[in-house]
Symmetry: C2
């Protein structure tokens, strides 16, 4: 099995109201079965999911974070780890001022799965190809330093690859049986985007057909609080 991952170059700075599907289909030569990973930042910009913040007043950013949080898990200094209305647990409720004009902060999209579905349908309409779409964001993790990209929305990509009941190579039942393939796709895509280069879209070519199918991040990838040992 072989995957190819490449960034989509040449996208102009995204503005509110831009048609991302149209821009992506115009900038990349997409094929059936490709997975297109789009960073949250440009989805939020296109959808106008932005808040006004006073760059000179730290409380301004903080109050936006509080508004976007339904539950605070931890606080230390300026850092808040909280749960968003979508069920994501992340730093500062995903409110982010990098790669955004001064005086603005990007919020998470209202419904990132819906954002992914729209982009997927738009690419189908524009370029006639069936792709999977992931909306990705950059999250920290407990216990491990550094950040990594994860999927916050998906369309046409199964968030979880369910291998329960699959025998392993020695015929035993597998123990670790649900692979978060959407998160692995998002992490892989981040590597060709970088954080500073301004490449907000990547394509993964060669996806296994089993990865493509229905599902949503919010329904399938968020762990229910009742199953969660850390919430």
């Amino acid at each position: 099995m072989r995957l190819e991952i490449f960034g989509v170059e040449g996208l102009a700075e995204i503005q509110e109201g831009d048609d991302l599907a149209d821009l992506i289909a115009g900038a990349a030569d997409l094929a059936d079965g490709d997975v297109v990973v789009v960073t949250q930042k440009i989805v939020s910009k296109a959808e106008g999911a932005m808040a006004v913040v006073d760059p000179d007043d730290p409380l301004s950013h903080k109050s936006v974070v509080e508004q976007e949080s339904v539950r605070v898990l931890r606080r230390r200094d300026d850092l808040v780890i909280s749960e968003t209305k979508h069920g994501f647990v992340c730093a500062n409720a995903g409110v982010d001022r990098s790669n955004v004009a001064a005086g603005r902060a990007a919020l998470l999209p209202d419904d990132p799965d819906r954002s992914a579905r729209r982009i997927r349908a738009g690419i189908k309409a524009r370029a006639g190809v069936e792709v999977g779409v992931i909306v990705s964001d950059t999250f920290g993790r407990p216990w491990r330093r550094g950040v990594a990209d994860v999927a916050i929305g998906s369309a046409g990509v199964r968030p979880i690859l369910d291998l329960r009941g699959t025998p392993d190579a020695s015929g035993r039942q597998l123990q670790a049986t649900e692979v978060a393939i959407a998160d692995e796709l998002a992490a892989a895509a981040e590597m060709v985007m970088g954080k500073a280069q301004g490449v907000p879209v990547a394509v993964i070519r060669g996806a296994h057909p089993a990865w493509l199918g229905p599902g949503s991040i919010q329904a399938d990838l968020i762990r229910a609080p009742s199953e969660d040992l850390f919430r």
Copy 2:
């Protein structure tokens, strides 16, 4: 930027004492700058990091998990989330019975960074190429369903890409500035290995030169308990 990721096919079942570097260099046509990702399972097998368990006695597996844990964070039913001597927080202290002969369980390697260094040096000696090496394992995560591969050892790959001080595309300082590139490489590699196919090694070609360099997972990627809000 473009990455290519492919599994290394044709490796025989690994036995204690096998020279992994030799086997990998023989099975794959490696090039300078490749990143070679090797699953923990075959490293543990080659190093003999195995325990004897009674397949009919659940307490037998449990007592191995206790032995391999320095601190238990959570317990529910048969699941233990604990910290290993290396500082990894994971399910069942990384003790794993899948893809292992009945009556055996694979432990984590004694020092996965050292394992990675040995494989890297062996590949250099055998094939004359300078590669980066990651030893990967499959971990669950709080808040999100499913598992994803992460790096538990590295050699010649920087665990963290430090972008602090790098301006973003609009000239602002980046907020999320330390990218866990070794974990992203491990997650990307998992996709071509699968859990059931028995492909325990993958190659990532096209790595950015900035990703290659010194560092160790234990020193650089494990979050110190004093900095950790969830330990």
